[in-house]
Amino acid sequence: MSAPTPVQVQLVALYTLVRKETTRVFRIWVQTLVPPAMTTALYFLIFGNLIGKRIGQMDGVDYAQYIAPGLIMMQVITTSYGNVVSSFFSAKMQRHLEEMLVAPMSNWAIILGHTFGGVVRGLAVAGMVTAVALFFTHLHVTHVFITLSVVVLTAFVFSLGGLINAILAKNFDDVSVVPSFVLAPLSYLGGVFYSVSLLPGWAETLSKANPILYMVNAFRYGMLGVSDIDIVVAYAIIIGFAAVLFAACVVLLGRGTGLRT
C-alpha cells in the first residue's frame, strides 16, 4: 500500500469521522430526531394554537408564526449541542476516543468531524421541526441566505460548545449541567416566545447580553423579515462566538486537557 500524503491522511480521517458521526445521527433517529419534533408539536399546540389565538399578533405577524423561528432555533441549539457532547463524552468514557488520539489526526479534523455531526443533526431537526410547524401555521422564507447561514452557524457554535463541555467533563453530571442550567434558561429568555421590545428597559438591556437572542432574531429575520436586533450585529456576534469557541477547542485539544494525563 503506498503511503498517503499528510494532507490525504487528514482529509480521509476527517471524512471517516464525518461519516461515523452522521451515520450515528440517522442510525438512532428515534433518539436524535423524533423527540424535538414531538416537543415542538406540543409547543405549537399549547402556545401557538390555544394561547396564541388570544395573543393575536406580535411584531405584525400571527403569534404562531412569530414563535416558529424561535422554536426551530431552540431545537437546533439543544440538539447540536447535545449531539456532540454525548458522542464525544461517551467515546471518552468508553475510551474508544483513544482510537482518534493515537492516530495521526490533526486537532482541527477532530473538531470539524464532531461539529459536522452536530450541524447535520441540527439541520435535520430544523427540517423536521419546520415540517411540524407547517401543520400549525403558514411559513415562508423572506431571506433564504440569511435563514440558511444563521441556522448553520448557530448549529456550528453550539456543536463547538458541546465539544468543549465534553472535553472538560469528568462525569455525567458535568454534561447535563450546561443544557439544564445554561442553555434552557438562555433559550427561553432569548426571545423565542416574545419580542424583547415588550420588556422593561433594564430587562431589554439585560437580554442583549444573551447570545441566543441574536441567533433567534437573525433567524426570525431570515424567515419572517422581522427582528429586534440589527442583522449585522447578529452576524458579528454569531461569527465571533464561532471563532472564539473554535480557538478554545484547538487549545484544549492541543494541551490534551481532560483527555491526556
Binding site: M1, P4, A13, T16, R95, P104, R260
Partner: protein
C-alpha cells in the same frame, strides 16, 4: 535503525507521583522486545507517552527517527497500539471498528475494506464482522484490538498485556500470530504479567521498577544472571522429615514433594545422587517458577514500592 529511542524521559503526574524518573531505552527495528515490571512500575505510563495518550514532563522520544515533539503525525503513523484496557466501541460492529480506525490513519474506504478482510481473517474474526463489540467474548475483544492496531500496517506494534484474561489455547495461537508478524518485519514491544510469554517470545528485555530501568539486556543474557533456581521434586516414597542435602537449601512441601534450590555453581546430578543414596526416588521434576519470573521477583522485590 532504532524503532524506538527514549532519552531521559520523566513523567510527574499532577498529584506529584513521579511515574518515570529518567528512562533511557532503545529498541531496534525488527526486535521482539519485552517491557516488564510490577504493577505501578511505569510501563503503561511509558507506553502512554510513546503513543501520545500521556503528556511527558521532560525528555525525548523518537519513533523510527521521528520526534514526538516535532514530527508527531509521522511518529503516530508508525505505531499500532493494543492498550491494556478494552477500549472498543461496544455499540459498533467489528467491521466498523476496524475500518473506522483505518480511516483515522488515512486509508481510503477501499483500502480499509481490503485490509479489514486480511486482519479479521488473520485474527479469526471474519465470521464475527457483523457482530457488535459488546457481543464478543473477552478473547475476541483482545483479538479485535490487535486487528484494529494492525489495520494501517504499523512498523512498531505496542502490546500492553494483550493476552490478559485470555485462555491458554487462544493465548498460544496469539503467540504464533505475533511471531509471524514479527518475522515479517514488524517490531513488537510487549508488556505482560505472564512471564513465560515474554521468555518464549522476546529476544530482548527491559525491566522497569520505581520509574527506572533496572535491567536491560538480551533475554538469554538476563536469564543467565539468575543465580539460583528452585526445583520441585516429586518423590515415589513419602518422607516424614525434610531430607538434608549438603550444600542445598531444601524444603518439605508435603510427604511426596520437596523443593530444592540449586545455585549456578552446583548441578542437579549431585541432588539426584544424594537422594538415591537415601533411598529416595524422584519420579518427576519441575521449576517452581519460570526462570524469568524468578529473576523478576528477585530484582523487583528489594524494597517496598512507592509508585
Amino acid at each position: 535503525m532504532l524503532a524506538l529511542a527514549v532519552r531521559n524521559l520523566v513523567k510527574t503526574y499532577p498529584n506529584g507521583v513521579q511515574a518515570l524518573r529518567g528512562i533511557d531505552l532503545e529498541v531496534e527495528e525488527g526486535d521482539f522486545f519485552a517491557l516488564l515490571g510490577p504493577n505501578g512500575a511505569g510501563k503503561t505510563t511509558l507506553i502512554g507517552i510513546v503513543t501520545s495518550l500521556v503528556n511527558k514532563t521532560s525528555g525525548d522520544v523518537t519513533v523510527f527517527g521521528h520526534s514526538l515533539d516535532t514530527q508527531l503525525a509521522l511518529a503516530k503513523q508508525s505505531i499500532g497500539v493494543v492498550p491494556q484496557e478494552i477500549n472498543i466501541n461496544y455499540w459498533d460492529s467489528v467491521w466498523n471498528i476496524v475500518t473506522t480506525q483505518a480511516g483515522f490513519y488515512g486509508l481510503t474506504p477501499g483500502q480499509a475494506k481490503a485490509r479489514a478482510e486480511v486482519c479479521l481473517r488473520q485474527l479469526q474474526l471474519w465470521d464475527k464482522r457483523k457482530d457488535n463489540g459488546r457481543s464478543l467474548s473477552g478473547g475476541m475483544k483482545r483479538r479485535l484490538m490487535i486487528a484494529r492496531a494492525l489495520m494501517h500496517e504499523p512498523r512498531l506494534l505496542i502490546l500492553d498485556e494483550p493476552t490478559a484474561g485470555v485462555d491458554i489455547e487462544i493465548r498460544r495461537s496469539m503467540w504464533d500470530f505475533l511471531r509471524e508478524i514479527n518475522e515479517a518485519g514488524t517490531t513488537i514491544i510487549l508488556t505482560t504479567h505472564y512471564l513465560e510469554e515474554a521468555e518464549t517470545l522476546c529476544r530482548n528485555v527491559a525491566i522497569i521498577d520505581h520509574g527506572r530501568i533496572i535491567e536491560r539486556d538480551r533475554m538469554d543474557n538476563v536469564l543467565r544472571k539468575l543465580q539460583a533456581e528452585t526445583f520441585v521434586l516429586n518423590l515415589r516414597e513419602p518422607v516424614a522429615a525434610t531430607p538434608a542435602l549438603d550444600g542445598y537449601a531444601v524444603a518439605l512441601v508435603n510427604p511426596h514433594e520437596i523443593e530444592v534450590e540449586v545455585t549456578k555453581d552446583r548441578d542437579l546430578n549431585d541432588v539426584f545422587s544424594a537422594l538415591t543414596a537415601r533411598g529416595l526416588h524422584v519420579i518427576s521434576m519441575r521449576n517452581k517458577a519460570n526462570r524469568l519470573e524468578e529473576l523478576f521477583v528477585r530484582l523487583t522485590a528489594r524494597e517496598p514500592k512507592d509508585v
